[in-house]
Amino acid sequence: MAIMYRLLRHKGAAFGAAVIALVVILAAAASILYPAGPFEMVGGTFEPPFQHAYPLGTDGLGRDVLTSIVYGTRVSLLVAVVSTVVAVTIGLLVGAVSGYFGDRLDDLLMRITELFQTIPSFIFAVVLIAIFTPNIGSIVAAISIVSWPPVARLVRGEFLAIRHREYVEAAVVLGVSTPRIIFVEILPNVISPVVVLASLMVANAILLEAGISFLGLGDQNLMSWGYMIGEGRSTIRDAWWLSVFPGIAIVVTVLALNLIGDGLNDALNPRLARGVRA
């Protein structure tokens, strides 16, 4: 728990953690706060923000912007967290096998990884969703598929470095089975950089999802921040609040995740922490 302590002493990370905690609470409490749901037409059209009933205004169909943002947290978090978990799992497996066994298998797996890395990730994700039907499952799958290669590369590098440490060789000599060496002896030692990378991947996944929804390829049944910006785009000069508030939500959430990633990096690698943070 020393790591938690170090993390929360990092001012940026503490702020980031507070923001993410708030986002998680909003996502969980959305249906209690706004039982009617985000698609309900509650007021007049294009009501400007900071009025009494609808603090962030309403859109062209009279839907409450604040309600939509609160419900949007659900989609953003769900997509980001699930796709990151899937991507990290794929990346860990590919990287671990590649780095541990080396040689031909490594060559093969790394060429495949490179194949994925040569295609710009956003366009690749859009193509994948266009091929599948656009729903939340395919969005998660697409984001996972474009996000795992950096994890695989990172894990492979760490495995290559640790593979020939004496404690791993000792395990081989003791007769410990290969899967156990990979998962019990080596993996716990490579997990810290992966955790840092994962926190940044969540942020990236939120951006990807927003971009996909913005293009209208999102799940039509779910309210998301990207969809809101996409919808508000055409009326941005008359109703700026339709695009600006979800935009702020994205910026703040992504920033918070980046700060956490930064803090995690310092907390997990105390020796690399830059200077004395007085």
């Binding site: 404690y167 000792a170 003791l174 410990v176 089975s177 156990r180 002896e185």
Partner: protein
């Protein structure tokens, strides 16, 4: 005793950052350096000897500070000098040679350019021709073809050659003081002899005042005029070399001297037990291939190596770096596969067995590693580490952990150690954990690869005692790999001398040490530092133990 001191350290205290295990890395240290004399500062790791040297150079790391005392170079207090002025002292007035010849030179710069840098930043006004001076310098440290060497990159040089280059660089601007921090520790013994000789010659030629930092009393007895012994940052004993070596006063000095293993092998009866491990005609060649163009480089690490070890016997495998001794150890525990040849355990050929069929033999052949820091997984508790092998061979968890505790006790660690993580232990304790891990499987064959090389002498003596005890109690056939002939003399029944992948000589330890036949063995024995110093070296006390199996057979 010569004239006035050139460098005076008086009452120097170096403070450690708050939260360190002690307040001062160096506490009230006073030492004088005289021209043409060598002061050896001796101490174990953490004694503050290196920080004292760095304080003289003004190169203390940012978190430690010199808080009291003075360092006077011909009357000028270096501690009071601003960084700009200090920069003119370094190199010009005080030269320094560091420990690691492998990382001390910039790998992407030619030797000549690195030497020339000395003049660029320090000697603009000296009007030297860097090339001509470079040739002179390399020549003076005994490097062949200096002109050609100036244009080569460091990777082409051996460790000893690099250390010569570093010495040449330290002396480039003709300083009057030379600080050498463990300059020969990373070198092979035969190279070490040459470097020590070179340092002595250079000292006489330039009337250098040398501060030589080391942990090795053998080296000390070769070159010291004066000896200062440090412990926990304090100077415990200081005096003329012969006096300190022959009549040490402080108990710590006595203890350090006593911990140096003797080069005189104790009498040992030949072991008559049956042969457990036999290796025949082992060959191993490393090939590196340039994948794109198919060019490759070959290094023969093992050429036709034969060896046999009996139950309860310790065979010492002695060699310098690159001799193939580590490769041989790894082939025997099957971390590496030999290209050809056979390995038999109790008469069964095992080297050709496929992985799955070899698995039961893993239990019987165990290894102890050199580095007590990288050989233990930092994320697992000591109990888990020691029990891992037992679990891998199918012992139920509760039983395995109970046995792990038992073996921790055998290596003289408390059973509570099982709950703790490796970083909570010292180097010597960690090495004991590594030994417990290997012993837990009760192997018939134990390969120990330089198991005491990374340890301080006093800790080394304790671990060697433990090995002696293991030999008596558990009677494995042991392959003890070492570069240190003193250690080999104390622990081995027989020794095999290895050079360039071949065993050049093999026989009972006492016979080989008394009458080495092969020229290389003679050279190795002649190179042992401090061999002519009779006060060095006490035989390790033989623990008298009943030969009873205290451990229930599994």
């Amino acid at each position: 005793m010569s004239d006035t001191p050139i460098l005076r350290i008086a009452g120097l205290s170096v403070a450690l950052p708050p939260g360190a295990d002690r307040a001062h890395a160096v506490h009230e240290l006073s030492l004088d350096l005289h021209p043409n004399r060598t002061l050896c500062v001796v101490g174990e790791s953490g004694s503050g000897k290196s920080l004292a040297a760095l304080a003289v150079m003004g190169l203390l790391p940012p978190e430690v500070r010199a808080v009291a005392g003075t360092i006077e170079l011909e009357g000028q207090n270096l501690l009071a000098l601003p960084e700009r002025a200090m920069r003119r002292i370094r190199g010009r007035r005080i030269g320094m040679v560091f420990q690691s010849p492998m990382t001390g030179l910039n790998p992407v710069m030619r030797i000549g350019d690195q030497i020339a840098e000395q003049f660029r930043f320090n000697g603009r006004d000296l009007g030297v021709d860097p090339r001509r001076r470079g040739i002179e310098l390399l020549d003076s440290v005994g490097l062949p073809e200096p002109a050609k060497l100036l244009d080569t990159y460091p990777f082409r040089l051996s460790g000893g050659q690099r250390q010569r280059v570093m010495i040449a660089m330290a002396l480039a601007l003709e300083p009057s003081v030379l600080i050498a921090d463990e300059p020969t520790t990373a070198l092979d013994v035969t190279t070490q002899v040459q470097i020590l000789k070179l340092l002595r010659e250079l000292q006489e030629r330039h009337r250098l005042a040398v501060m030589f930092i080391t942990h090795d009393f053998g080296v000390v007895s070769e070159i010291a005029d004066e000896i200062a012994v440090m412990r926990h940052g304090e100077l415990v004993e200081h005096g003329a070399a012969s006096r300190v070596l022959e009549h040490p006063v402080h108990p710590y000095t006595k203890q350090l001297l006593a911990a140096v293993p003797s080069l005189e092998p104790p009498p040992r009866a030949p072991v008559k037990a049956p042969i457990v491990l036999q290796a025949q005609a082992l060959q191993k060649t490393y090939r590196s291939r340039d994948r794109l163009f198919g060019r490759h480089r070959e290094v023969a690490a093992l050429r036709n190596v034969d060896l046999a070890i009996r139950r309860g016997e310790v065979l010492g495998l002695i060699g310098e770096s690159g001799s193939g001794k580590t490769t041989l150890g790894r082939v025997i525990v099957r971390l590496l596969q030999a290209d050809s040849g056979s390995i038999t355990i109790d008469g069964t050929e095992v080297s050709q067995l496929p992985r799955r069929q070899y698995r039961p033999y893993r239990k019987r052949v165990q290894m102890i590693f050199q580095d007590p820091f990288s050989s233990l997984n930092p994320r697992r508790t000591v109990g888990q580490i020691v029990a891992e092998g037992l679990l891998a061979h199918g012992m139920p968890a509760a039983q395995a952990h109970a046995r792990a505790r038992e073996f921790l006790r055998i290596v003289k660690l408390s059973e509570q150690a099982a709950e703790r993580y490796p970083h909570e232990f010292s180097g010597g304790q960690r090495q004991r954990i590594g030994i417990a891990r290997a012993l837990a499987l009760e192997p018939d064959i134990l390969v120990a690869d330089e198991p005491v090389s990374a340890l301080d002498v006093s800790v080394q003596a304790e671990v060697l005692e433990l090995f002696e005890e293991i030999r008596v109690r558990l009677q494995p056939a042991m392959l003890f790999i070492t570069h240190d002939l003193r250690v080999a003399a104390q622990i081995c029944d027989r020794v095999a001398i290895m050079r360039r992948g071949e065993i050049v000589e093999e026989g009972p330890t006492a016979a080989i040490f008394a009458t080495p036949r092969h020229a290389y063995t003679q050279e190795l024995l002649a190179a042992v530092p401090g061999k002519s110093q009779p006060v060095l070296g006490h035989s390790a006390p033989r623990p008298v133990l009943p030969i009873v199996a205290e451990i229930e057979p599994t």
